[in-house]
């Protein structure tokens, strides 16, 4: 059988970073991968130059629908650094609470998506039900399930009451029990092991060379976590461990995220028990003096990088955002080499990108630019489950 080029993607308009993977196949083996992105480019960086800092606060939050808070945290940190504001301690703790609640809901969401990709839909139902607990806590404090609008330049907009603290701690007790169950499942369940072990290998040297970030890098044994390396918000005060594994495969990426859930719960408990008294917001000027600032945070998917250049007016001169999925794309191309087509959905899912990239699949024969058969993501997912079932694997 000759080589076949298989473009996967590009997009689903509701998601943040659709991609197109053109996969060259030799039989069922992946030989080469090409990445094409930009299908829902919204021009946010350009738009920010024509909006005030207050308006941008809400625009930045809409870069992503899942890790929206990591973006707004970066933006406020950048503006506050140039203004020279040292925000109240209580505000820092509340921001950290939101960063960790966001990580919790994102990791639960991811675990469900990964389960769905390999045809293990029970796991999907369980984790998404548990994720609702986090969503309810977010809504209770901020009024919103997503895009919490918690931050202002100089602090946070809403306080955490005694009642909230009690509810958050109760929620953590429940989630800890559930996470313990998922840990058992991830390590022992044959359904997962058969599909995740030794699949999508990313060697430590490649993770470093290709500058992979977040759980993707940590599952290859690279100890990198911006919360520890370059502490922001209240991470310097907060005890937690950086989780790494050295299996370099999809299973490692599952294990890292499940164990990180425990660390997030630990952090949230610490924050709720040590929440300092005091103000939550200080007054900030509308105009930002000339300057530049870099802020990066450990978003659920990895390092989220923001750069601000201000010019003394109330609008930014230049604002740059680099999201973790973009940083992980070269690593995905590396992971996909020499794997089976049937493993492609779970390998791509394992970096936790938007799933939009799997929307449309187009078959091109022997590198001719003539479209062959068009299948969609759902068909590819089913193909992958069937392929494994024929080889004795059962969901």
């Amino acid at each position: 059988m000759g080589r076949v080029k298989l473009p996967i993607g590009p997009q689903h308009p509701a998601l943040k970073e659709p991609e197109n993977f053109t996969i060259t196949l030799d039989g069922e083996r992946v030989v080469d991968v090409d990445i094409r992105i930009g299908y829902t480019h919204r021009g946010i960086e350009k738009l920010m130059e024509s909006r005030t800092y207050t308006q941008n606060l809400y625009l930045v939050e809409r870069i992503c629908g899942i890790c929206s808070y990591a973006h707004v945290e970066n933006f406020t940190q950048n503006v506050e650094e140039i203004l020279g504001l040292q925000i109240p301690k209580r505000a820092e703790y509340i921001r950290t609470l939101f960063l960790e609640l966001e990580r919790l809901h994102s990791h639960f969401l991811w675990l469900g998506v990964a389960g769905h990709e390999i045809g293990f839909d029970t796991l999907f139902m369980y984790t998404w039900q548990d994720r609702e607990v986090v969503q309810d806590l977010l809504e209770m404090i901020s009024g919103n399930r997503v895009n919490y609008a918690m931050n202002a330049i100089g602090g946070v907009r809403r306080d955490v009451s005694q009642e909230h603290r009690k509810k958050v701690l109760e929620g953590m007790d429940y989630l800890e029990k559930r996470a313990a169950y998922y840990k058992e499942v991830a390590i022992n369940e044959k359904t997962i092991l058969a599909r995740a072990e030794n699949v999508g290998i990313l060697k430590p040297k490649d993770a470093l060379r290709l500058a992979a970030v977040g759980p993707t890098a940590r599952a290859s044994g690279v100890t990198v976590d911006i919360r520890k390396d370059d502490p922001y918000a209240s991470y310097l005060d907060t005890p937690f461990e950086v989780i790494t594994t050295n299996t370099n495969d999809v299973l490692g990426r599952v294990v890292v995220r499940v164990l990180e859930v425990f660390e997030s719960i630990k952090i949230i408990r610490y924050l709720m028990e040590h929440l300092p008294e005091g103000e939550i917001l200080m007054k900030a000027p509308r105009k930002v003096p000339e300057g530049e600032s870099i802020s990066h945070t450990e978003a659920p998917r990895g390092e989220d990088f923001h750069y601000l250049r201000s010019n003394g007016t109330e609008k930014p001169e230049r604002y740059k955002v680099r999201t973790p999925t973009l940083a992980n794309l070269p690593a995905v191309a590396e992971m996909l080499k020499e794997t089976y087509l049937a493993d492609v959905p779970i390998i791509i899912a394992a970096i936790d990108p938007c799933m939009g990239c799997m929307d449309r699949v187009l078959l091109v024969k022997d590198g001719e630019e003539k479209p062959g058969e068009i299948i969609d993501a759902e068909q590819l997912r089913r193909y992958s489950i069937k392929w494994y079932e024929e080889r004795g694997w059962k969901a």
Binding site: G38, H41, K46, E81, A211, D230, H296, Y307, R309, A327
Partner: protein, 148 residues
């Protein structure tokens, strides 16, 4: 100052490194020295993590910032190129992770990284003919029509 910062300042002692705050170092170099500086970062400091590349329009020039991250310290290398000759050396040979970031600055600001293996568009559509959106003189098609 952390030990990492001391180490970096020692290695780069002949260069005009500016420390903006803890964990943030900036270094401005002429574009001719780009590869030389990248080699120093790669071989003498063993830096591997390129966070991203930022570029911006400063009027007559284009400014390019390479953001590296080493053990908690963000090191930014700043260089410029004139708008009428927007070429710089590609750093992909030294830092393979620059491949997408260089495509991005080429796409949105028209900076040409010489020696880049694959300069297709990254963000804008393949059939885009509307210029470089992140340059300051760029106007949205609707604004342009209104002027004409």
């Amino acid at each position: 100052m952390t030990t990492t910062e001391e180490l970096i300042l020692e290695v780069l002692k002949d260069l005009p490194v500016q420390m903006k705050r803890n964990h943030r170092l900036f270094l401005t170099i002429p574009r001719g020295d780009l590869i030389k500086t990248m080699n120093i970062l790669s071989s003498e400091l063993a830096i591997q993590h390129l966070s991203t590349i930022t570029a911006r329009d400063t009027g007559n020039e284009l400014e390019i910032l390479y953001h590296f991250f080493l053990k908690g310290v963000m090191i930014t290398i700043r260089t410029t190129c004139p708008k009428d000759d927007p070429t710089i050396e590609s750093i992909v040979k030294v830092f393979p992770s620059a491949i997408l970031y260089e495509r991005e600055i080429h796409d949105i600001l028209g900076i040409v990284p010489a020696g880049h293996p694959d300069l297709r568009r990254l963000i804008l559509p393949d059939e885009w003919v509307g210029g470089y959106p992140l340059r300051k003189d760029w106007k949205q098609p609707a604004e342009q029509e209104a002027e004409e």
